[in-house]
Structures are given as structure tokens and as C-alpha cells.
């Protein structure tokens, strides 16, 4: 048991970093990590899959995040019902040029941030990432390609995306 705890302790800083990149808020991130560790400790033993412990924990955390996200979107729709408008939609005017790779990264959609963090920063294999995202490897590869292009464009300050051109 304590050997497993030691392994977990080594991975916790990585889980926290992943959670921060998803939630963009460190206290929400730690709640997410805590909920994920609880899930991990309760399902350890019966559901433990083969392979990397880190990838398994990342998968748990990502799923917990998506669940919470869905709930919060449902809630946002409830608010819309009250207000008749959707404030949560980022507008095109908010798109400004990112001055650093990190700023560019933070402007990417959640799934692209998750993907780039797992592949470029954590160095997880495509197969592991495909399992975490629950998508075929081919899909992961094309999403990775789009994420890299998006990061490149934002870093370069090329903000003219196809959708903006249509708006003109």
C-alpha cells in the first residue's frame, strides 16, 4: 500500500499541473486532483488497467473534469434561461495577440491544451493519449495537428482564422 502511495506522491505534482491547465484556477484544480485521487484509491485493485500509472491517473482526472464541465454547462444554460443571453461565449474581439507560447497555450480550447500538455509536456505515447481521450489514434493525430497549428498561429500573432474571414 505504502509503495503505491509513494508512486502516487511522485505523480501528484503532474496531476496538479494538468488540472491547472484544464481549470485555469489552482483551487478548483486541487479539488479536481483530490476527487481524482479518491476515485483512483477506491478503484485501485479491481479496475487497474495494465500500463502506465500516470496515464491511468490522467484518464481519471480528465473524465472527472469533463463531467464537472458538463454539469457547469448545464448550469450555464439554466442561467441563460433566466437572462435570455449567454455571457459565457467569448467574443471575437477578445482575441488578442499572445506574446508568449504560454499565453498562446492558455488561449487554446480545453481539449487542445489537454492534448498538448499530455503529448508535448508529459511525453505520453499517442496510444496512451488515445485511451485517455477515448478516441482512435488517427483522430488524436489530426487533433494534435490542429492544436499545433493553432498554437503556432497564436504565438505568431496570426489571429486570422477561417471563421474570422467569413465574418468580414
Amino acid at each position: 500500500m505504502s509503495e503505491f502511495d509513494e508512486q502516487l506522491r511522485e505523480i501528484i505534482p503532474r496531476l496538479r499541473r494538468f488540472a491547472v491547465s484544464l481549470t485555469r484556477n489552482s483551487s478548483s484544480a486541487d479539488d479536481l486532483v483530490q476527487a481524482s485521487l479518491e476515485r483512483a484509491l477506491s478503484s485501485w485493485g479491481d479496475k487497474r488497467a495494465d500500463g502506465d500509472l500516470r496515464a491511468w491517473l490522467f484518464a481519471i482526472l480528465y473524465r472527472q473534469f469533463l463531467d464537472a464541465h458538463r454539469r457547469s454547462r448545464r448550469y450555464a444554460r439554466m442561467l441563460e434561461f433566466f437572462t435570455g443571453r449567454d455571457d459565457a461565449e467569448p467574443s471575437a474581439e477578445r482575441t488578442v495577440i499572445a506574446r508568449s507560447t504560454l499565453q498562446a497555450f492558455e488561449r487554446l480550447p480545453t481539449e487542445q491544451r489537454a492534448l498538448l500538455l499530455m503529448v508535448s509536456v508529459e511525453g505520453l505515447s499517442y496510444k496512451e493519449v488515445a485511451e485517455i481521450l477515448d478516441a482512435p489514434i488517427g483522430t488524436v493525430m489530426s487533433r494534435l495537428s490542429r492544436a499545433r497549428q493553432a498554437l503556432r498561429q497564436l504565438s505568431d500573432g496570426e489571429i486570422s482564422s477561417p471563421s474570422l474571414r467569413i465574418l468580414k
Binding site: F4, D5, R9, I12, P13, R14, R16, R17, V20, S21, T23, R24, N25, S26, S27, S28, D30, D31, V33, Q34, A35, L37, E38, L41, S42, A68, H69, R71, S72, R73, Y75, A76, M78, L79, F82, T83, D87, A88, P90, R94, S100, T101, L102, F105, T110, L116, L117, V119, S120, V121, G123, S125, Y126, M141, L144, S145, R148, L151, R152, S155
Partner: protein, 251 residues
Amino acid sequence: MISLPPNERDLHAYVDHQLSDADRRVLETWLASHPDEAAQVRAWQQDAQQLRAALSGALQQPANPALDPAMIRQRRQRQSRRHLASAAVLLIAVSVGGFSGWQAREMTLVRSTMLPMTDALQAYRLIAQQGMLPADYKVDSEGDMQRWLDRYFTRASRLPDLKAAGFEPVSGRLLSTDEGPAAMVMYEDGRGHKVSFYVRPPGPKNTFLPRGSRSDGDLQAEYWSGGGYNYAMVSPVDTPAAQQLKQSLQF
């Protein structure tokens, strides 16, 4: 084996060190004579490297004892011993408006179905006492708070005027409860005392409340219904202003 010219996937796999040694050598040789693709690959490598560098600091956060596996095990055991007689209430706080995106925080709270407006007291504890949820909205000028509230609860009664007791509305927070979306408006006086105004729908069972008040630990709640909503004003029992406040709450 990869075939030449490589497709884009091969280039990504090269950047991510996911090619076999043999394939990597083949691709490196090919890139040496294809400057455009080589520049593309280099740019991706640079982005990845900068991202790694930028995010390396996030690994150095001070440890959070609540996340230690031993601590989580202990907590789980304590919880199972208590047999969880009470159901969990889910509170999701969502930040609306702004690029900062959303924030969600879930908390397991002890639910007491018998007592009215328990969620208002819980929200006060979380936000005013423990400072766990940041405000969605902060007041800039007079009248702002009412406008903010009106956006979500159009038919709700007006915010109580507590100026006589020295309290002004300062911030607002949206919450989700089992009974529906809720808003909590925080009032503060000059000495940092906090009082909250809480509003939400009556819930699926349409539970409207007769005017009443009750204390719960160190807190005092006044509650009532009107305009299709339930309300509560929550304040600490021992606040010197509590008495004064009660007098100014003449709805």
C-alpha cells in the same frame, strides 16, 4: 517503416520522439534536404520546448497536504464509518462572463432536508467565512449590485437597504443548488463584518417559506419567500451589528 515523402503524422511522431530509431534516421536524412518541412518541424519542436519550460514551474507548487494519499485514505475511512447518513449536495460555482472561462468546484455538504435555507448558511460559510469561492461580480458604483442580480433573478424582491446598519453590497456569487440556481450577495460594513443576501427558486417541490429565523452554530438566518423565490439573510450571531441589522430588516 515510414515511406518518403513522410506524411504529416510522421512529422508529428518525429517531434514527439515516437518513431523507431530506424525511422527517425530516415526522416532526419530526408529533412536535411527539405528546408520547408524542416523549418515546420523545428517550429513545432520549439513550441513544445517553450511549453515545457513555461509549465515546469507548475510542478514546483508547495505541497497540498489534503492531496496526500494517506490523508485521502483516512478521510475515506472516516466517511464510510459514518455510513453517510446524509446525502450530498452539489454546489457548482460558475463564473459567467469573461474570457477566464469557467470554474467549477464541487463540495460535499451535509444536507439537512428539515431545516429551511440550509444552503444559504452553507454558502455563507464557504464564501464569507472560508473564502473558498471568488466573487463573480464586484461592485464598482452604486446600483450595480441590483443590476447584476436583476440579470439572473428578474422578478426577485429588491436588495434590502442596510445602509442604516452600515452595510453596503460589495460582491455577488452565482451558485447551483439542488433547488436551482442561486445567487448570494455579500454586504460588508466598514469593519469587515459580512452579511449575505441569498436568493433561489423554491425548488422542485415548490417549498415556500413562512417568514422565520433560526440560528445554526455561529450563524443566524432570516428567511422568507416572495415573487416566486426563497430568500435568506445570513449573519454571524455574535456580530455587534447583528442586532442593529435585524432592526433594519423591515421588509
